[in-house]
Amino acid sequence: MNQEAVKDLLYKMADDQLILGHRNSEWTGMGPLLEEDIAFSSMAQDKVGHAQQFYNILHTMGEQDPDTVAFMRNANQFHNCQLVELPNGEYDFSLIRHFLFDHAEYIRFTALANCPIKDIANLSKKLKSEVKYHVMHADTWIKQLGTSTEEAKARMQASLNEALPYALGIFEPSKHEQQLIADGIYPGEAALQAEWQAVVEKVIAKTELTLPAWDSLEPVYGGRYGTHTEHLQPLVEEMSEVFRLDPTAEW
């Protein structure tokens, strides 16, 4: 088993969760409905917790402790896809991103539940059951707003069009892709993406929204290897501001 390849896979998953968890937490106190305020806050807590568990596994593989990894890196050291670092925008954009990302996550955890590395498989089995709630939440709102008023549909459609090229960036191939597939760690990004597209099509078909042809979209890659938008560094600074005041403090 190639340790570097597995670490690469774990880092991108953990960083996606950490960054989107923080974006979700920005809805705390700001949600358009109390229920949605609670929903995004809960999903934030889940995602930061999931990130921590993957950082824990990385720690057992010789990486630094989870707090150091989470708070002491700069934006160009993060492996998250650009989708998760984009600002929340209005609620429609946050919902569309949540829908696109969490379906991908659910498919990823389902695949990794069969990973030959026991710690990864066990954790993925667990997280899959939790992310199920995120997916159910997203689908409910996509269906509701995607069949609602003209303004709702126009907003959802505009956000969908904006988010899709970034969402394809979730599946940016790893430089260890063939190795990971050959070792049976997981089926690889292309396989996950195919499954994800089918699910997205199925849910969107229940709305009055439309999907562009997949091959007309230009995926936004780069996030997996440190190329990020201008939005990530300020997020990282805000997230780590307290920790960096005194990294040795006992909490």
Partner: protein, 162 residues
């Protein structure tokens, strides 16, 4: 030295409760997944979180340690892992009753496939009605959802099926 039974340790641990649901012991919650001794006096307690992001896990871990120490075990290890993945079917019958008495609807038993049909119509813990609707699958803690009863007109929470 007297031989310590694992069952004795399990009974001691009965006093450790879920800090967010203080009527429910960790035993009844189903998060203590193993108790083991190595023959030289070292006790290992295995536990697993209900939700991976549960902020109470360190607190519960410390309380387990305190109970062991209080009962004279100084050499112990409380191991948190996902080797056994918690699901809500692991809550004992006594635990389910404690939840209901506390005003929280116990999670419906399921075949490990949770979908909207299972969570939408919880049984109201106050009046027993099924004429209820889910307001949101997320609640004040990660493990609870919020519901409304159309018969007794109370809002209530359910411990989520997972």
């Amino acid at each position: 030295m007297e031989v310590l039974e694992n069952e004795t340790i399990r009974v001691w641990l009965e006093e450790v409760k879920d800090p967010e649901i203080p009527v429910l012991s960790l035993n009844d919650l189903g998060v203590i997944t193993g108790i083991d001794q190595d023959g030289e006096g070292k006790v290992t307690v295995d536990m697993t979180p209900t939700f991976a992001g549960c902020p109470a896990i360190d607190h519960m871990k410390n309380e387990i340690g305190e109970v062991l120490e209080k009962n004279g075990v100084s050499d112990y290890h409380v191991r948190v892992s996902f080797d056994t993945q918690w699901n809500s079917n692991m809550i004992s019958e006594r635990g389910r009753k404690a939840l209901k008495d506390f005003g929280l609807a116990p999670p419906p038993k399921h075949n490990l496939i949770v979908d909207l049909d299972i969570i939408e119509h919880a049984t109201c813990p106050h009046c027993g009605s099924k004429n209820t609707e889910m307001k949101t699958p997320f609640g004040p803690t990660l493990c609870r959802s919020i519901h409304y009863c159309h018969d007794c007109l109370n809002a209530f929470e359910q411990f989520k099926p997972l």
